[in-house]
C-alpha cells in the first residue's frame, strides 16, 4: 500500500470539465425537451450548443490522450468470470462486508464492471448522443447530404433515449463513486487531488 498519483492532471481536468458539461447539457437538454422551462428556449439552445461544442472539443483531446498514453487499455473488458465476481460482490458481499474482488492499482484503475460500464458509455451512449446531436443541430442540411427523408422525430427519439441512459449512468456513478471507497469520500478526494492509496 502506497500513496500514488492515481489520476494525472489532464485526467482530472477532463473528468471535472466533462462532469460539468454533461450536467449542463442534461439540464438544458430537458429544457429543450419541454420537461422544464428554467431558461427561455433560445437561451437553452445557445447553452446546449456551446456546451456540446466544448464537450466535443474536450473529447478530441481526451481521445488523443488515451491513444498516446496507452490509457485506452484500461477499458479492455475483463474475463467473464471476473465480471461475474464483481456482480456477486455488489449483490451479496458488499452487504456482508466481504473483500472487494478487484485491487485498484495505477495500471488497473477500473474494476471489471467499471470497464464494461465506461466502455459502453464511450462506445454506445456517447456516440449515440454525438451523432444524433450533430444531426439534430444540422437538421436543415439533411437534404444536402441525401438524408432528407429521415425523420427529425426519430433522431430526437435517439437523442433523448441516450440522454436518459446517461442520466441513469450518472446516478449509479455518483452512488458508487461517493459511497464505496474505504475511507469516506476517498474516491472523490482522489479525483480532486489525484492521490490515492494503491
Amino acid at each position: 500500500m502506497s500513496q500514488v498519483i492515481m489520476y494525472k492532471g489532464f485526467e482530472r481536468f477532463w473528468h471535472w470539465t466533462q462532469a460539468l458539461l454533461i450536467i449542463v447539457l442534461l439540464f438544458s437538454g430537458f429544457n429543450l425537451h419541454g420537461t422544464h422551462q428554467f431558461f427561455a428556449f433560445e437561451q437553452a439552445v445557445n447553452i446546449h450548443i456551446i456546451s456540446a461544442w466544448l464537450l466535443m472539443g474536450l473529447w478530441v483531446f481526451a481521445i488523443f490522450w488515451h491513444l498516446t498514453t496507452g490509457e485506452w487499455k484500461q477499458y479492455i473488458p475483463s474475463s467473464a468470470n471476473k465480471i461475474i465476481a464483481m456482480m456477486k460482490y455488489y449483490a451479496m458481499d458488499i452487504f456482508l462486508g466481504g473483500g472487494h474482488p478487484h485491487h485498484k492499482t495505477r495500471k488497473e484503475k477500473l474494476n471489471p464492471m467499471q470497464r464494461m460500464a465506461y466502455l459502453s458509455l464511450h462506445l454506445v451512449i456517447s456516440p449515440g448522443i454525438w451523432i444524433s446531436g450533430l444531426l439534430y443541430l444540422f437538421y436543415p442540411y439533411w437534404s444536402d447530404i441525401g438524408i432528407g427523408s429521415w425523420s427529425l422525430g426519430g433522431i430526437a427519439l435517439i437523442h433523448t433515449a441516450a440522454a436518459f441512459a446517461l442520466m441513469a449512468f450518472l446516478v449509479v456513478h455518483l452512488y458508487l463513486a461517493l459511497t464505496t471507497s474505504k475511507e469516506p469520500l476517498g474516491y472523490l478526494k482522489a479525483m480532486i487531488t489525484g492521490y490515492e492509496q494503491e
Binding site: G34, I94, F95, M167, Y175, L176
Partner: protein
C-alpha cells in the same frame, strides 16, 4: 408692345381669377398639399388643369391629354377588371368573382361595392370596361386628401355636398376637382388606404393587418411604414410596372427562394420580404437556427406577433342568419358593446370584433382556391371559402399567419351551393329594403346567371387572410418559446416533430422509469449496506 401687354394682363387676370376661385370655393384652403419634390412636372402650371371640372371623367380626359397610355395600362390591371386568372390553378378569381363572408359578392350591389373601384360608373353588369375616361386617376394620385369617392355612387365622388348616411348630419363635401387635379402626385399610404384600409365596409373590417392606423403609424405598429422610422409608402414594396401593382393574395408567393432582387439583373417584384431581406437575413449568433427556419416558416409568422394592434378593431365574426330583427315599433335595431363596437345591426346581423389578435397558423404553398358559385358544398360542415395546399413535407410550403374570418351566410339549400345576396339598391328585391331573403338571393343569383333552387339556409364559413402587414420591430418578434412549448402557437400543426412541444410519451415514460428506478435501486442498495454494516458493528 400692345400684344405683350394684353398677354400680360390676361395672365394677371388669370392669376387673380384663380385666387378668387380658390378663396371663395375652396373649403380646403387650409390643407397644405403634399408636393413631390422630385417631380419634373408642376401640375399647377398645366393649362388644361386650370379648368373647373364638372365630373371625374372630365378630369381623366385632361390627364389623358398628356398621359396618353395611362388608361390603356390600367385597363389590363386587377384594380380595373376585378378579375384575375390564377396562372397556377387556372381559376378565375378577383373581386368580381370570389365570394366572401362579408357582403358575399358584388352582384346587384355594384354601386355600393364599386365605390372602391378605380373607375367611374360601374353601377351594373353592363359597365364598359373599355372606356378610357372612366378610369379614376385621382383616387390613387390625389395628394390633398380631399378627394373621396362617395360610398354609394358607383365610384364617383359627390359633385354636390351630400349627407351620408342618407338623412344623417354627416355632410360629404363635394371635392374641388380642379384643385385636386393640379395637386396630383405619387401614390401615398392615404391613397391605397382609402380602399384597402376600409375593405368589407368599414375601417379595419376585412384584413386585420390593414386599417387606418397604418396611415401614419409609428414603427412599433409597422416597422416599414412607421413615420418615425423608414416611413415607406405602400408602393415601396408594392412596386408597379405599367400600373400593375405587385403582390397578390390570389397568387401568393409563399416562399421566395429567389431572394434579393437586384435591379438590372433580376428585379422581378419587391412585394415579398425576401425581395429585400433575402432568405437568410438574421445575423448568425451562437446558433444559426433562425435562418434555418426560413425554409419552413414565413417571415410574417414570427414578425407579426399580433394583428389589428393599431387601435382599430377588425371583424372576426359576421352572422347573417340573425339579420332582419326589428324592435317593438318595427324599427331597425343597432346594438353596441361597451367598446362602442356595433355587435348587432338589423341590416347585417351579429358581429364580433377583435383587437391585438394572435394569428392562426397554417401551411401555405400559395395555390389559393376560392369556392365557386356552382361548386357543391357540404352544409353539415364549416365551409372553407378559400382553401390551399401545404404541409410539412411540401417543399414549397411554409407556415403562415392568418386572420380567419368566420361567420354564417345564406346558401342555396336545394342545390347545396353558395349563394349571393342582393343587398343594396332602391328596388324591393334588395335585402336592405325588404328584408326578404328569398327574393334578394334570387335577384342576385339571376343576375349572376346561377341556378337558385328557391330554398335557402345558413352555413358557417371560414375565409383565410394571410397576414403580411403590421410587421413589428425585431425586438417584438416572437421568441422561440411562442411555438417551441407545450401549449404554443403551433399546437394545431401536428404533422411534424416540433422540439419543445412534442415528445414520445412512451420514451419519456420508460426513460423516467429507468432513471427513477436506478435512483430507487441505489438508494435501497445503500440502505441495505448501511443496515448490514450497523449489524456487523453491533456484533
Amino acid at each position: 408692345m400692345f400684344f405683350y401687354k394684353l398677354k400680360n394682363s390676361a395672365l394677371l387676370s388669370g392669376i387673380m381669377y384663380s385666387i378668387l376661385i380658390f378663396a371663395c370655393s375652396n373649403s380646403y384652403a387650409n390643407v397644405e398639399p403634399v408636393k413631390t419634390t422630385s417631380s419634373t412636372a408642376d401640375h399647377t402650371k398645366f393649362e388644361i388643369l386650370q379648368n373647373q371640372f364638372a365630373t371625374g371623367p372630365d378630369v381623366t380626359k385632361a390627364c389623358l391629354s398628356c398621359h396618353t397610355e395611362a388608361s390603356n395600362q390600367l385597363h389590363k390591371t386587377k384594380h380595373w377588371n376585378w378579375k384575375f386568372t390564377n396562372p397556377d390553378t387556372g381559376e378565375e378569381v378577383g373581386k368580381s368573382k370570389v365570394i366572401n363572408n362579408y357582403c358575399l359578392a358584388i352582384n346587384k350591389n355594384y354601386a355600393r361595392c364599386t365605390s372602391c373601384h378605380i373607375g367611374y360608373g360601374w353601377k351594373d353588369k353592363n359597365f364598359d370596361f373599355t372606356s378610357q375616361e372612366n378610369v379614376d386617376c385621382l383616387v390613387c394620385h390625389d395628394s390633398t386628401d380631399t378627394y373621396k369617392k362617395f360610398p354609394t355612387a358607383a365610384g364617383h365622388p359627390n359633385y354636390k355636398d351630400k349627407a351620408f348616411p342618407k338623412g344623417s348630419k354627416k355632410i360629404w363635401k363635394a371635392p374641388d376637382l380642379s384643385f385636386i387635379a393640379q395637386n396630383v402626385g405619387k401614390t401615398r399610404r392615404e391613397n391605397c388606404g382609402a380602399c384597402h384600409f376600409y375593405g368589407g365596409g368599414g375601417d379595419g373590417v376585412k384584413h386585420g393587418d390593414l386599417d387606418s392606423s397604418l396611415t401614419n403609424p409609428d414603427k412599433q405598429l409597422d416597422v416599414h411604414l412607421g413615420v418615425d422610422g423608414l416611413n415607406f409608402t405602400c408602393s415601396e414594396c408594392h412596386t408597379a410596372d405599367s400600373h400593375e401593382v405587385k403582390g397578390s393574395r390570389y397568387n401568393i408567393t409563399a416562399k421566395d427562394t429567389h431572394g434579393i432582387d437586384v435591379p438590372g439583373r433580376d428585379d422581378k417584384s419587391r412585394a415579398t420580404c425576401e425581395s429585400c431581406h433575402g432568405m437568410t437575413p438574421h445575423p448568425e449568433t451562437i446558433n444559426n437556427k433562425i435562418n434555418d427556419h426560413t425554409d419552413k416558416v414565413a417571415c410574417a409568422t414570427c414578425h407579426i406577433p399580433t394583428y389589428a394592434r393599431g387601435g382599430v378593431a377588425t371583424k372576426m365574426w359576421w352572422d347573417w342568419s340573425t339579420a332582419g330583427k326589428k324592435d317593438g315599433d318595427g324599427k331597425p335595431i343597432k346594438i353596441k358593446n361597451d367598446k362602442g363596437q356595433v355587435t348587432y345591426v338589423t341590416k347585417k346581423g351579429d358581429f364580433k370584433w377583435g383587437q391585438d389578435m394572435v394569428p392562426e397558423y397554417e401551411w401555405l404553398s400559395g395555390d389559393v382556391r376560392y369556392k365557386q358559385l356552382d361548386e357543391k358544398i357540404d352544409p353539415t360542415q364549416v365551409v372553407a371559402l378559400n382553401t390551399f395546399s401545404g404541409s410539412y413535407d411540401d417543399p414549397d410550403a411554409r407556415i403562415w399567419p392568418f386572420k380567419i374570418m368566420r361567420g354564417k351566410q345564406p346558401y342555396d339549400k336545394g342545390n347545396n351551393t353558395l349563394s349571393l345576396i342582393h343587398l343594396f339598391g332602391k328596388d324591393k328585391k334588395a335585402y336592405w329594403k325588404s328584408f326578404n331573403w328569398n327574393s334578394s338571393i334570387k335577384s342576385a343569383m339571376d343576375e349572376a346567371e346561377a341556378n337558385y333552387s328557391g330554398e335557402y339556409g345558413f352555413i358557417e364559413t371560414t375565409l383565410h387572410w394571410p397576414l403580411a402587414h403590421m410587421v413589428a420591430p425585431k425586438e417584438q418578434s416572437l421568441a422561440c418559446d411562442a411555438c417551441h412549448s407545450k401549449e404554443g402557437r403551433l399546437a394545431n400543426l401536428t404533422d411534424f416533430y416540433l422540439p419543445g412541444r412534442d415528445n414520445n410519451k412512451m420514451l419519456d415514460l420508460i426513460g423516467w422509469l429507468v432513471v427513477l428506478g436506478t435512483l430507487g435501486g441505489v438508494t435501497v442498495h445503500g440502505f441495505v449496506r448501511y443496515f448490514f454494516a450497523r449489524k456487523r458493528e453491533n456484533k
